[in-house]
Amino acid sequence: MTKPESEWTWKELTVGNVVLEPGNASQYRTGDWKTNMPVLSKERCIHCGLCYIFCPDMAYSLNEEGYFISDLFYCKGCGICAKECPTGAITMIEEEK
């Protein structure tokens, strides 16, 4: 369905609310749950990938320059990456509205 879920009528739902399209959870923006977002200081980053390993939402991926960057569409702002980063390269800062 192309229109947003909040516009569906009860008649448009599938029987038993079965989701027929596999993998569409990737369309769900969990990123809007967060208050704080991770910001990477490239000078301090040693490319160890611990942020990528520890991220519970698998929001981190390796970019072309070799840095692990969090996808803010999915990042819930839990701060585990900042806590685990051995060089303190990740800082959690308040997300601007």
Partner: protein, 391 residues
């Protein structure tokens, strides 16, 4: 006509499940449902029923297994009683929300405490709003017949809802009655193999039981309510088809000597047969008393109920469960709701009777009609009491 056999009703129920050719039986034994599970276990072990029999560790798991197996497209069966139903209550709401056409026989037994194994309807009333189609049976033949009716109805693409067949514990489950068996060819003709609309299969992955945000939850519940209410036409259609096949026709609300009656007894379940004996006795004495029996509990047959009581001045509603702190018994509440707002509505006097298996004899029904008459004359028009309590 099929063979008539004298048989314990629980065994006949299990034989019906065999004839319905279920793929999965998942149940946990509890009195008074035990004989059904035991016999099904025998049938599977003996190779007479080609099904998977799951020995689960609780009723919560029993119904959870059925949800899983039915979701893969397997015709699934479970049965329970009382505390067992209470333990599986969480899953009852899930089965209906997922629109899985599971069939359950509930051998009705009272809920603890005090601990009791005997019959009343407090177990099913605890999950009254769980979204299953709920029917009540009056004798063994009705239990046997409703296994086939329930599967055909549940699996109808326009319905796809689970069904509870209520049979009174001991009063029905443990008595030997003549049961007219239906030939297997006829069963197969009436109940074709289950064709699931959606199922869990790696070739065509789907998600069942996904979560819903507040922005869509109300729509999901509305859709569920509409399908349960609109299943009424399919329920009638299925009963008609079954009647055409066997000569046994069922209706949402059945009446006995009720047409011109001023006073109507209203019952649900096996006590309807006892009440009909009382009605005969009162009719012989020239009293204008009839009987209305509710067969269908959910969806509640509001229209049929109103049609069944056009001339009555007084309804004496017998409940087999208490709604503690509420207005009386659950059946009476529904009956009053059905009649509310109608001109010339009858007075509704409510007795909770026969809880925890206490016998209710024909003479008790006569006493209840007498008592209701006196109380109503004295101005207690919508009275409620627990019948026969020692003061």
């Amino acid at each position: 006509m099929g063979k008539r056999v004298g048989m314990e009703v629980s065994i006949a129920a299990a034989e019906a499940v065999r004839q319905a050719n279920v793929d999965v039986v998942s149940a946990y034994p509890i009195t008074p449902q035990t004989h059904i599970v035991e016999h099904l276990s025998d049938l599977v072990a003996n190779g007479e029923l080609d099904a998977e029999f799951f020995c689960v560790e609780s009723e919560h798991s029993a119904l959870s297994v059925c949800v899983g197996s039915q979701a893969t497209g397997a015709r699934s069966f479970t049965c329970t009683s009382s505390q067992g139903l209470a333990l599986m209550s969480e899953i009852t709401y899930i089965a209906s929300g997922l629109r899985l056409p599971i069939v359950m026989i509930l051998s009705n037994r009272t809920l603890s405490s005090p601990l009791s194994i005997w019959n009343d309807h407090s177990d099913v009333m605890s999950i009254r709003d769980c979204g299953w189609i709920q029917v009540f049976t009056e004798n063994g033949q009705e239990v046997y017949d409703h296994v086939f009716i329930a599967y055909r109805l549940a699996e109808d693409r326009k319905v796809l809802l689970p069904v509870i067949i209520n049979m009174d514990g001991f009063t029905l489950s443990h008595v030997i009655e003549p049961i007219e068996f239906i030939e297997q060819e006829k069963v197969d003709q009436f109940l074709p193999p289950y064709q699931p609309l959606h199922r869990l299969h790696p070739d065509k992955p789907v998600t069942m039981g996904a979560f819903a945000l507040p922005s869509i939850f109300a729509e999901a519940k509305k859709a569920q309510e509409v399908v349960l209410l609109s299943s009424m036409s399919k329920i009638l259609e299925t009963w008609k088809a079954f009647g055409d096949l066997t000569g046994r026709y069922y209706k949402p609300v059945e009446t006995y000597r009720a047409e011109d009656a001023e006073t109507l007894l209203v019952t649900m379940g096996s006590c309807g047969e006892t009440a009909s004996v009382a009605v005969d006795q009162m009719r012989e004495e020239g009293r204008s008393v009839g009987l209305v029996k509710l067969r269908l509990w959910r969806p509640f047959p509001f229209d049929d109920f109103k049609k069944a009581t056009p001339h009555a001045k007084r309804l004496v509603v017998i409940d087999r469960a208490i709604s503690i702190g509420g207005p009386g018994g659950p059946v009476a509440s529904e009956v009053k709701a059905a009649l509310y707002g109608h001109d010339n509505r009858p007075d509704v006097y409510n007795f909770v009777a026969g809880i925890s298996g206490r016998d209710v004899a024909p003479s008790d029904f006569i006493k209840m009609v007498d008592k209701a008459g006196i109380e109503i004359e004295e101005g207690k028009k919508d009275g409620y009491e627990i019948y026969g309590v020692r003061e």
